[in-house]
Symmetry: C2
DNA sequence: CCTACCGATCGGTAGG
DNA sequence: CCTACCGATCGGTAGG
């Protein structure tokens, strides 16, 4: 018999999503130390121990949050590829827009992804690192394709990919929704810099 | 009377530098959790309690490390300005080289600077944030100057500065010394992308 | 700079 | 999903 004061467990999937959202919110606004399992539970409105009904450990929770970030951008790129409607320029802009938009939709996840990746246990960290490498490879492929099409001139596609990822992946550090720029506008501007550079063409 | 087994305290300045270096090393190679005061002390070869002879708290130590990063790049830029030998292009390249080089000379400090800034107590965090803002302002000034000189075409100097800082400030995430590129080479390449863009000029 | 020690917190578990 | 609880660790202090 369950304690009468205990709520009925919610369906695992929706509760898990709710917990991840709460953790993301805490990471976005507060320092990491404050995103304890206790704080996350309070934010959800359940007891800390109940979190362990949905996640076997804090590492599993953090790992899930990171995967929830990288998977959608991989999938978005792949479906664009299979649609075949975009050329290398269009694909590049779309990727950059995806990346910067994460800052708008999942700012806390983004921060966790960048700043806590190394803290995960080997197994799950490896899985996420693999997806990150895969995405970087996709970006390099788009650059190579642009070179093949004659529209890009890229001396070092790998370094160029790192520049793009660094530019787009650090927006979470300063972007605040409701400011003067939306995420797609920032992506568009970064794309513009990347395309034409800032040197005056005389 | 001191315990006979106790070493004599080293001069505060050199010991403090040694402690900061040890903390940087730990941050570079290990996850943050492992960079405890205990681990830092072991790495230095003293007892944890002895750290508190040199730093009043862990926050003071982390704050010092962050300031030790931002101050040199501010000073380097200012002395270049007062020398007056460089134009806006030269100044920009020099700033980017400074930033990327931190990854080589202080990789652990760089990681702490980016990933643990929010965890510091208000007072010291504010001081460092101020210096960061100041440096960003200096970068915007260089861009503005290039526009005035007619050599740069920049629609939004602030956003451009964020792109540059994001690009250069995230190299610590992937750069490993002894690879195929040195830090100045990476800075040079990033500068090249920034100047001319990747779009083939037909 | 050391020995000895502490309060607080944190992730996690037992058992229902 | 809750109550009750624990072991480990961590930053930090007292006192020399």
């Amino acid at each position: 018999m369950a304690d009468e004061r205990a709520q009925a467990p919610l369906p695992a999937n929706s509760r898990r999503a709710q917990i991840m959202k709460a953790a993301g919110d805490l990471f976005e606004r507060r320092a990491y130390q404050e995103a304890s399992m206790e704080a996350i539970a309070q934010h959800v409105g359940i007891r800390k121990a109940s979190l362990y009904y949905y996640f076997s450990s804090k590492d599993e929770l953090l790992g899930q949050m990171q995967q929830e970030m990288i998977e959608p951008v991989i999938n978005a790129h792949q479906s664009r590829l299979s649609e075949g409607a975009l050329d290398s320029r269009g694909l590049l802009l779309a990727m950059m827009t995806d990346l910067v938009s994460l800052t708008e939709t999942h700012p806390g996840h983004m921060r966790i992804y960048v700043e806590r990746h190394r803290e995960l246990p080997e197994l799950i960290r490896g899985k996420i690192a693999e997806q990150t490498d895969r995405y970087r490879g996709m970006l390099v492929d788009v650059l190579d394709r642009g070179v093949a099409e004659g529209v890009f001139t890229v001396a070092d596609p790998n370094l160029t990919a790192m520049a793009i990822l660094g530019m787009c992946g650090s927006t979470y550090q300063w972007y605040r929704p409701g400011g003067k720029c939306t995420a797609p506008e920032i992506a568009q501007y970064f794309y513009h810099i990347l395309m034409t550079g800032i040197e005056t063409s005389s």
